[in-house]
């Protein structure tokens, strides 16, 4: 008898707790709603940021946000108003990414949005922003489909076709490669896309038989010995292995441990401390990226590099922070050109971006909203990333 009574008592308590949580939640939401349903305070311009801060893409998202915050510290004002950053986490999940963008637009009333690391997350957020006519600037989503059919999505990074071709030309031209092997992460659109464009370009110059091996792995794998042994047995002149710095760091180090000495090539994701840490003692590792300290593409690159060192003295500069930095200053630039913080005006200003000087190079946005800009090739030498060459867009 007692136990039944107790159980009922507990049920009631639980219900009350749940309901009060809900009430508090709604209350909180309502409070916030009341605040933000008003027009944004006249002296503040809001920039929304949706990035993966937790989940599988968390590392990349956090690096990007560091860059954005750095830019915000340096340039806290535009049009005479203070810029407020609203950073929300999309948990590396698509439904969360769509929610996040919707939240930024209809609750926070942001004027422009920045994000997201990971093309699939950007593709989830894109349509929401398009419906609301709020422009989004992507930092590092390289999948060509992101800006497709979306007039409100822009990006400051170059896309897979350009980067793949650059690396192929570098492999054939400078490194004198006649054959190549590809190791790709089948779960990463970035890796698959880049590989396919590299393959196309490489085959076009060296013939159909020039790709001697193409092997796959999955995100999260740690053991690449079998794939690398397969590649080693085919004896290619170069290996192209674009992918996440998480897996690639281990992959490249393992390749060297297995005695593979040929050059290994990759994409811009490699410009990260996490990658460098794994491969410090090795050489002949090349990748395309956006900027360099030795040959600053623009004066903004120098500013960015100096300020980054000041703000994060114990961290290495990475490509994502630089791209995050650029999206922020590009957003500010567009607002200044538009002369207002109106979303549609910002979009038009963004679409007209030409020869914009960012930390990652001189950016011109084409009719799709994709950046055409100079690629930099770097290599790993003496435990550092070292400038190697510059490739201009045609």
């Amino acid at each position: 008898m007692l136990s039944i009574k107790r159980r009922r008592y507990v049920t009631i308590v639980a219900l009350i707790v749940a309901l009060s949580m809900l009430a508090v939640g709604c209350g909180g939401a309502a409070d916030k709603g009341a605040d933000s349903d008003k027009e944004p305070a006249a002296d503040v311009i809001k920039i929304g940021v949706y990035e993966p801060l937790t989940g599988t893409n968390a590392a990349g998202g956090q690096m990007t946000v560091e860059g954005i915050k750095l830019a915000n510290q340096l340039y806290p004002e535009v049009l005479g108003k203070k810029v407020e950053l609203v950073v929300v986490d999309n948990k590396s999940e698509k439904q969360e990414a769509a929610n996040a963008v919707e939240r930024l637009i209809s609750k926070e009333k942001v004027n422009v949005i920045i994000g997201s690391y990971g093309s699939s997350l950007s593709m989830a957020g894109g349509p929401v922003a398009l419906d609301a006519k709020v422009p989004v600037i992507g930092c590092s989503p390289t999948n060509p489909a992101v800006t497709l059919d979306n007039d409100y999505y822009f990006r400051v990074c170059f896309i897979d076709p350009f980067q793949g071709t650059v690396m192929s030309n570098y492999a054939t031209g400078t490194l004198g490669a006649k054959t190549a092997a590809i190791i790709q992460d089948v779960q990463q659109d970035y890796s698959v896309g880049l590989s396919s464009y590299f393959e196309k370009a490489f085959k076009a110059t060296n013939g159909d038989a020039s790709i001697v091996a193409k092997v796959n792995y999955n995100t999260g794998d740690k053991d690449f010995s079998a794939q690398l042994t397969e590649v080693k047995s085919k004896n290619p002149d170069v290996i192209f292995a674009p992918g996440n710095f998480l897996e690639c760091g281990i992959l490249v180090a393992k390749a060297r441990e297995l005695g593979i000495t040929v050059p290994i090539l990759g994409g811009d994701t490699w410009e990260a401390e996490e990658f460098l840490n794994q491969v410090t003692q090795y050489k002949d590792i090349y990748f395309s990226t956006h900027f360099t300290a030795e040959e600053p593409v623009t004066e903004v690159s120098t500013t960015f590099l100096d300020e980054f060192k000041k703000a994060y003295p114990d961290k290495e500069v990475n490509a994502f922070a630089a791209l995050g930095f650029d999206t922020y200053i590009l957003a500010l630039d567009a607002m200044e050109k538009a002369g207002s913080a109106d979303s549609v005006a910002i979009r038009d200003a963004l679409a007209a971006t030409k020869d914009f000087k960012g930390a990652t190079g001189i950016i011109t946005l084409d009719e799709n909203g994709d950046a055409t800009k100079t690629a930099v090739i770097k290599k790993v030498m003496d435990g550092k990333f070292v400038y190697e060459a510059k490739v201009d867009p045609k």
Partner: protein
């Protein structure tokens, strides 16, 4: 007693009307953000109750839900995308010609998504349901992962990891909640039918149920297939809500999120799953507050802590499973009889006074 029946019938109609009015009002007056959250909670409600049918009512610990969602989402996406966008999006490898020209309306595509997922559920159920408890859990988790990996690798059908985009967008509360309510009604009917009694008998004691003449295996497969059907439908709705899909959406960690809803709501209560689906989806947004940096009375700057939300949910899951295993509703359902009895006894008391 006939009176009671009539009253209940009327009450049901009134309830549906009220929900209808709310949806009609909400569609025009709520902001896009609230509509999106409500739509997402409808999807999670469908996922919750379909998993509850398998886990809470039939007692089978299946972790394969994300796999069936994946199938449903892809079927719906491929069937409804326009041929023009298929041509552009499949830029790595063209889509197989059979599917290139297909373009269905949305409702038939949703049903097709459910049916295809159900077929897979049936095919997977036949071998997998010979296992039970943790073996079943790990085998179904395995099947879900296999589905995802196959989807990632069959580029000419699914476009692989590049995912699909330009799926027609559906924003109407009516579609999501309409389908959720139909699902609730169908599952309620099933649970109160002979099938449902057999499911519960299997859950409570398999051997006793068999002795009573219940065909254990076929009922298990039946329950599993129905669960897969609705998971497929929820997957399709997810595709229309987000308008793009890719395989990484459907990792097995997604199933854990549904499990959270089922456990918190009460294993064995449809009402509980629906309520907890709505609460959790809303809390997920509300709790963003804990991840934002904030000032403590202007004295202390506390930086934002990404991941705090999930810590709270994990603790909630543990507390419920350790101290209050029935969850919100236990095996109880929302029930007019209960309310009517209350009113009745209240009236009586009033009359006697």
């Amino acid at each position: 007693m006939d009176d009671r029946k009539n009253i209940k019938f009327i009450l049901n109609i009134v309830l549906l009307l009220i929900i209808g009015i709310f949806l009609w009002w909400g569609q025009d007056n709520l902001s896009a953000f609230y509509i999106r959250i409500l739509n997402l909670s409808a999807i999670f409600a469908i996922l919750g109750i379909s998993m509850n049918l398998v886990l809470g009512f039939t007692g089978m610990f299946s972790l394969g839900h994300s796999g069936f969602m994946c199938i449903g989402a892809y079927v719906a996406a491929i069937l409804t995308m326009s041929p023009a966008s298929k041509e552009i999006i499949y830029f790595m490898e063209p889509i197989v010609p059979v599917l290139a020209k297909v373009q269905w309306p949305i409702l038939p595509a949703i049903i097709a998504a459910g049916i295809v997922a159900a077929i897979f559920g049936f095919l997977i159920g036949i071998p997998a349901l010979r296992l039970r408890d943790d073996y079943l859990a790990i085998a179904t988790l395995g099947f879900a992962e296999i589905i995802r990996i196959v989807v990632t690798n069959t580029i000419s059908i699914t476009n692989g990891s590049l995912g699909l985009k330009n799926i027609p967008s559906v924003k109407s509360l009516w579609v999501y909640w309409g389908i959720a309510i139909i699902t609730i009604i169908i599952l309620k009917k099933i649970i109160n039918s002979n099938w449902g009694y057999a499911f519960k008998a299997i859950r409570d004691n398999e051997i006793a149920a068999e002795a009573m003449g219940v065909n254990i295996f076929s009922h298990k497969v039946l329950s599993f297939t129905i669960g897969a059907f609705f998971a497929g439908i929820a997957g399709a709705l997810m595709a229309f809500l987000i308008t793009s899909v890719d395989p990484t959406m459907f990792r097995f960690t997604f199933t854990f999120q549904i499990l959270l809803i089922v456990v918190l709501g009460g294993m064995g209560s449809l009402t509980g799953s629906v309520i907890s689906a709505v609460i959790i989806t809303i809390l997920m947004e509300v709790l963003r507050v804990v991840e934002q940096p904030f000032d403590l009375f202007g004295l202390l700057q506390i930086p934002g802590l990404p991941g705090m939300r999930m810590v709270i949910f994990a603790i909630g899951l543990l507390l419920v499973i350790l101290f209050y295993r029935q969850g919100l509703m236990g095996t109880r359902e929302f029930n007019w009889d209960y309310l009517l009895d209350k009113i009745h006894s209240f009236k009586k008391r009033g009359a006697s006074m």
